[in-house]
């Protein structure tokens, strides 16, 4: 599922985010899989609610950091979509 600016990414129903106190970082857990999230990826995933579009998420985070982060957002979401841990909520 290639993501576009109008996709509405949502976390896979069977995946959940958690905080790992041992590694002191957030993690994404799903069947037979673990992804250690960096701070950026965690912030992006927090906004993947199936309502916001990729463009909305990029705009929100760009405003937060006063710089255009849309390319980072697109790359991060595409990687997660390739692993099927996020799905297009609109599709």
């Amino acid at each position: 599922m290639p993501l576009t600016a109008t996709s509405r990414p949502a976390l896979w129903r069977l995946a959940r985010m958690d905080f790992d106190p041992v590694r002191r970082r957030r993690v994404l857990l799903y069947p037979e899989g673990t992804i250690m999230l960096n701070a950026t990826a965690a912030e992006i995933l927090d906004l993947c609610d199936g309502e916001r579009t990729v463009a909305d998420i990029a705009a929100t985070l760009s405003a937060r950091y006063h710089t255009d982060v849309s390319q980072d957002v697109t790359e991060c979401l595409s990687r997660l979509a390739d692993q099927e841990v996020i799905r297009d909520g609109a599709g």
């Binding site: 041992v22 590694r23 069947p31 992804i35 692993q83």
Partner: protein, 408 residues
């Protein structure tokens, strides 16, 4: 070499099992019920594992449902924040039991299926089991937890691969793991009868590719290639002692579920040492960390950080020396051993069914199975379930079974 933190712990709660699968990967010497760890011991191991960084817990066997404390163990894992997976045959999963597992917080249930049709499936399992498995699948679906169907592939079911995939979809699986047999434990005793033909293996990939496309977004398909037919070995769990710990029913901690057959190693028990010490300091976990242990051709091989010399257990099983290259690798002269095994493929088709307390040749049941029509069969595809990035995420195409599964 200082290890990082493990991510995955597989708890083999018991060796007791109602099935008699000819490809069982459990050791030839099974642990009796009275030697299994107690409830309290397992709970302590989970707590220690979480403190060590483990995030994924597999509850396997044998058949884990025969443990009456399973719900209690799952509840403890849930409390610790572990993502829990139950690996079951489905036999013994009644409606009340399913509800209790759900209440305890189980995240993911895997049910094994032996084939797409009753007669063959029950012949492979060595017992009546079809109806119980179909009912168990329906129950898991009702619970709404993550649901995986596991199928071990071999010569007798590969020709029905496409039907197997469709059955898993009909059962409503979120994931389907199609793993070609790996030859450890009991499976080694049945290797000639289980080994697929090259035609089957080649046909299987196209079938899986098509099915992955067909079921995209609904059912994720993971395909584990048969490593004997590969040019390079699998990268076992991302390297020895790197991400993964398996605890045997008697409390021995192993870097891999097949490691107990490496008889040159001694495996320490969680009843005698803290898990932290076992992970960081014990000789068995340190034995093949890093690459200092390697011989040629691994030592100077550019792939040594890709596949880590392959499977140590397989190197030991086939050459008697766990520091040699995995004989699957085309860069070692030992590849002749694997080629000789493949040359045998058209040999007999007799299964040696396993029963508790009997080793091979000690009076196990032997049943001649139908001679399967070889060619043109079905089968398999690869889709990465591997969580890129972190974790024991192993490329399914490299032929590595998923970390939580030791048998189906």
């Amino acid at each position: 070499m200082a290890p990082g933190n493990p991510t995955t712990l597989l708890a083999e709660l018991t060796h007791r099992c109602p099935l008699h699968c000819p490809y069982c990967s459990n050791p030839l010497e099974l642990t009796r019920a009275h030697r299994e760890l107690s409830t309290e011991e397992w709970m302590r191991v989970f707590t220690e594992a979480r403190a060590l960084g483990v995030l994924q817990l597999g509850l396997s066997g044998g058949e884990p449902l025969v443990r009456r404390d399973l719900e209690q163990l799952i509840a403890h894992a849930t409390q610790l924040g572990l993502y829990s997976t139950l690996v079951t045959s489905g036999l013994g999963l009644t409606r009340p039991r399913a509800a209790r597992l759900h209440d305890a917080g189980i995240d993911h249930i895997q049910i094994s299926i032996q084939d797409a049709e009753r007669e063959s499936a029950e012949r492979i399992a060595g017992t009546r089991s079809w109806d119980a498995k179909m009912a168990a699948a329906a129950l898991v679906k009702e619970l709404g937890v993550a649901f995986t169907v596991n199928v071990v592939l071999h010569r007798a079911n590969l020709d029905r691969l496409e039907t197997i995939i469709d059955l898993a979809a009909t059962l409503g699986a979120d994931r389907l793991e199609l793993a070609n047999t790996q030859y450890y434990g009991w499976a080694m005793a049945n290797r000639d009868a289980l080994m697929p033909t090259r035609t089957q293996v080649e046909a299987s990939e196209a079938i899986v590719d098509r099915a992955a496309e067909r079921y995209r977004g609904r059912m994720r398909i993971i395909y584990v290639l048969p490593d004997y037919y590969a040019a390079y070995p699998k990268a076992c769990y991302g390297g020895w002692g790197k991400h993964y710990i398996m605890i045997a029913p008697d409390g021995r901690a192993l870097p891999c579920h097949a490691a107990s057959q490496v008889t040159t190693l001694t495996f320490d028990r969680v009843t005698e040492h803290p898990l932290d010490w076992i992970w960081r300091e014990s000789p068995a976990f340190q034995a093949f960390r890093g690459d200092a242990w390697m011989q040629e051709p691994c030592r100077s091989c550019p792939r040594k950080h890709v596949d880590f010399g392959g499977c140590r257990c397989q190197a030991f099983a086939l050459t008697g020396d766990a520091t040699r290259a995995d004989p699957v690798c085309i860069r070692t002269d030992d590849r002749a051993i694997v080629d000789a095994a493949l040359a045998h493929v058209e040999a007999g088709m007799e299964y040696r069914y396993r029963t508790m307390g009997r080793g091979p040749g000690q009076g196990e049941r032997q049943v001649r199975t139908d001679r399967e029509q070889p060619p043109n069969g079905a089968v398999v595809q690869p889709l990465s379930s591997a969580a890129a990035g972190a974790s024991p995420a192993v490329d399914p195409r490299s032929g590595t079974a998923s970390p939580l599964r030791t048998r189906a």
